[in-house]
């Protein structure tokens, strides 16, 4: 497993808040991720940041299509 792959996996896990922590804690968690993780990645590793955005787009598309299919059924 390459270092780049490990880094991408860690970042992907970090940008999602833990489940069932409540909206206030979620907001604080996102502020922390923005300030300490994402702002540095955007400055220092724009390719990784673009990769994150593209993966999120893919996930959102899959989730949206699955939800719409379930609703249609």
């Amino acid at each position: 497993m390459t270092l780049a792959f490990q880094l991408k996996t860690h970042v992907r896990l970090l940008i999602l808040a833990p489940e069932n922590i409540g909206p206030d804690a979620e907001e604080k968690y996102f502020q922390w991720v923005d300030e300490h993780v994402l702002s540095r990645i955007r400055d220092e590793n724009p390719e990784l940041y673009s990769w994150i955005i593209e993966r999120i787009k893919e996930i959102m598309t899959q989730l949206a299509e699955m939800t719409l299919l379930e609703e249609l059924e």
Partner: protein, 504 residues
């Protein structure tokens, strides 16, 4: 289909809530993403402390530009209503927002105007003010001729204007004077900005090609834009003597030339000053009136104590700061080392100009700059040694920068010996008295390469006696001495690393 699209929009908005704000903003800034999910653009702008929706603000401005008597209402994020109107202040049309006693003034964004003549006239003026490249100007002119800009385009045009040396210098001066700047304000991440500062690098150019062709084209463009301003911007590129040798002064009349040298003497950065001295010595026979200014600049360089809190300390710290920050952001990744150093030293010189004019505490600034980016500068320069092995990290120290500039003055003076007539100037450069810069000539550091010469063969022979001594020791084959030398070098590197990253 419309129902499906609406449902998809709702789902997208719901998903977005489960990501951090920066991710939400990045996704919403993507037109393809917005179009796929049928979402309206949402960008929040901060007008001072007042957050507003960019799209709503631009719509209100469009309405006022179409009918100057209109006073549309804009709601901020807190729900307060602001009245927007066009006002004339000092013969300049501006947008004023009013809410109770509060007033905000904004530019009038003429590119949003429905009036084609208004859009074009104002754009041409601004493009000329910031010396926007011709190709870029042409592309925007075409759009503005056919229509007013959309929100995204308006933003892109503003970024285009912001990423010019003129506007970056304004932003740095504001940050320095208000004390509200960060490193990212001082050092843009934009490759486009650095290309506009020192000229575009074309793939495959060697340093010799670039210095002779690329820089020449850039300087020609600058002086054809505005003679005086172009000359002052060209001087920022003087980190190598072959660049100052192609900066011409023919287009400046005597009054302008004197004005430039007077400014350089009083408020100039060290890089521009050395360029001005090299140019000045080469034209001294034709323009003798600049001699007092040249003499004064040379004395200032001579008397600047590199161990004190002076301009060489500032110059050294700024080069470390810019190089270190560019190493962090990788904004110029893929460019050759010499080009990146030319760009970062020119930018350091631009910041130096802004700092000299301000009341900033230089000691505190230099200390913080070294601490913030010293380690990154050091590592980047070590990495660069693979391609440009002759410029070591410790050559950025103030004492070496001073030696480099003194060496360049003496070298240029020798080339222009016949043009230097006055006793005072000859004594200052070639004399052997305590006032002369000639007293530094025995220093080996004058023979070391400059920052752009790390990949070139040595331009200067070291002093003969030092060369002889080295050759004797090398031919003696005394192995233990080599180990002592290596040990000494190791200690030296450790000491320099500490010096670069700690207090001056």
């Amino acid at each position: 289909m419309a129902v499906l699209r609406d449902r998809r929009s709702v789902l997208a908005l719901n998903f977005l809530q489960h990501f951090p704000q920066s991710i939400r903003e990045s996704l919403m800034a993507d037109p393809d993403f917005r179009s796929f999910y049928g979402l309206k653009e949402y960008v929040q702008l901060s007008l001072g402390e007042v957050p507003v929706n960019r799209s709503e603000l631009f719509d209100c401005i469009r309405e006022a530009l179409a009918d100057s008597s209109a006073q549309p209402t804009l709601k901020d994020e807190a729900g307060h209503e602001w009245r927007l109107e066009l006002v004339e202040i000092d013969n300049q049309r501006q947008v004023r927002l009013s809410h109770g006693e509060s007033r905000l003034l904004l530019p009038d964004f003429p590119a949003l105007s429905p009036d084609q003549a208004d859009r074009i006239k104002r754009f041409e003026r601004e493009a000329d003010d910031v010396n926007l490249p011709e190709e870029t100007t042409r592309a925007w002119r075409e759009i503005l001729t056919s229509r007013a800009l959309a929100d995204d385009e308006m933003w892109a045009l503003q970024e285009e204007i912001k990423e010019t040396p003129i506007r970056v210098a304004d932003a740095i001066a504001l940050a320095v004077n208000t004390g509200k700047g960060s490193i990212s304000t001082l050092i843009p991440r934009s490759e486009r900005y650095f290309e506009r500062l020192v000229g575009e690098y074309r793939h495959g150019q060697s340093i010799a090609d670039y210095l002779q062709v690329g820089v020449r084209e850039h300087i020609d463009q600058l002086v054809s834009w505005r003679a005086y301003d172009g000359f002052m911007l060209s001087l920022l590129l003087s980190s190598h003597s072959s660049i100052s040798s192609i900066i011409a002064t023919d287009h400046l009349d005597e009054k302008e030339l004197i004005q430039a040298y007077e400014w350089l003497q009083n408020e100039g950065d060290r890089i521009s000053q050395i360029g001005a001295v090299e140019i000045g010595l080469s034209i001294l026979d034709k323009r003798p009136k600049i001699e007092p200014y040249l003499e004064s600049i040379i004395k200032t360089i001579r008397d600047d104590d590199p161990d004190g809190q002076n301009q060489f300390q500032l110059m050294s710290s700024l080069i470390i700061l810019v190089e270190g920050e560019l190493a962090r952001t990788k904004a110029l990744r893929g460019k050759p080392v010499f080009w990146r150093r030319l760009a970062s030293i020119a930018h350091a010189a631009l910041i130096e100009r802004c700092i000299i004019k301000s009341n900033i505490d230089i000691a505190s600034f230099t200390r913080r700059a070294r601490q913030a980016r010293g380690p990154l500068f050091y590592i980047q320069t070590i990495v660069d040694l693979r391609q440009e092995p002759r410029w070591l990290p410790e050559y950025v120290l103030p004492s070496q920068l001073k030696a480099e500039l003194i060496g360049r003055i003496v070298s240029t003076a020798k080339q222009n010996d016949t043009k230097i007539h006055t006793t005072a100037m000859r004594e200052l450069i070639f004399g052997e008295g305590p006032e002369s810069i000639g007293r530094f000539l025995k220093d080996l550091s004058l023979s070391l390469p400059g920052p752009l010469e790390g990949g070139l063969e040595s331009q200067l022979e070291p002093p003969a006696e030092i060369l002889r001594s080295i050759e004797e020791q090398l031919s003696a084959k005394v192995l233990p001495l080599v180990w002592v030398a290596l040990g000494y070098e190791l200690l030296y590197v450790v000491a320099c690393t500490r010096h670069i990253t700690s207090n001056p």
